[in-house]
Symmetry: C2
Subunit: 140 residues, 2 copies
DNA sequence: GTATATACTTGTATCATACAATTAAATTCC
DNA sequence: GGAATTTAATTGTATGATACAAGTATATAC
């Protein structure tokens, strides 16, 4: 790929990481970190910490703490695996779904306001490229 | 903007933030956090912590610690402002420039490998949209 | 039935960050 | 010109997200 484009992506990616961090720091009903966890449980169904850790690219100890915290808040419930006394499934609860949807909506509202002068085409394009980029990162 | 596009951007942005975090955790000569600081000093010249904090969207206390750490490593030097006894300029040193460039190159190499099957056009497009997105975030 | 592997949790450490308190210098306002 | 206020920066303290290592309990293999 063209060097200039690479350099742009490289720098802007660093800038973005910083900006996203400061941007999301104020919608704090939900632990920011738990968003993807709940999303995962909601979109691909219950699973145990090992699978979650894999999907989320996190250490299992981190996920274990996240699930414990989510359980404590009533957003997920911990179901023992009948086939294996060591393992559990975490299942998102109705309250968890509600929280997830509210948090998502808050993010969407904010984003919509930010991007209010972007064209449909730019938005679609950006969304697709971001998705592709993530896919590329995920697979390697 | 089209709702579906917004939703894609919203979700993929969260995924990206996570992926970028795990991706960059292994090129650790330079504190990951210091990269943008050195970049800023190198591209827009010396300045004090307040201005840096503004440009980097960080608290001045955070920047103060970052500059102290960079100074300790010899990547920046701290020059008293002759006009104001309270303030300083931080200036990037030759060593700092060298480190910055090495770190940047490592990131570029990694990115190049990741994106080796992307077309020039996609890359350019993505770079431009990322830049525009960051600009949008930066300004609000 | 002992040894090993596996699923998960808990202990400990680190990093990046923010907010609050502090210090020291500059500015303002009688 | 000196007291009150503002400003630039640092330092104290706390937190959140993370990883790695050690521990616990259960399952599997030989």
């Amino acid at each position: 790929m063209n060097m200039h484009a690479l350099e742009t992506i490289e720098l802007e990616m660093a800038v973005l990481a910083r900006l996203v961090k400061s941007m999301t720091s104020d919608l704090r009903n939900l632990d920011k970190s738990a968003y993807l966890l709940l999303h995962q449980l909601s979109s691909e169904g219950s699973s145990g910490v090992k699978i979650l850790a894999n999907k989320l690219h996190l250490d299992i100890s981190t996920v274990s703490r996240q699930t414990a915290s989510m359980e404590q808040k009533g957003y997920v419930c911990k179901v023992p695996d009948p086939k294996d006394g060591r393992s559990y499934f975490y299942q998102i609860t109705d309250l968890g779904l509600k929280e997830l949807s509210q948090y998502k909506q808050a993010r969407l509202d904010k984003l919509e306001e930010l991007l209010n002068d972007w064209s449909d085409e730019e938005g679609q394009n950006f969304g697709q490229l971001l998705k592709k980029f993530n896919q590329t990162l995920m697979d390697k």
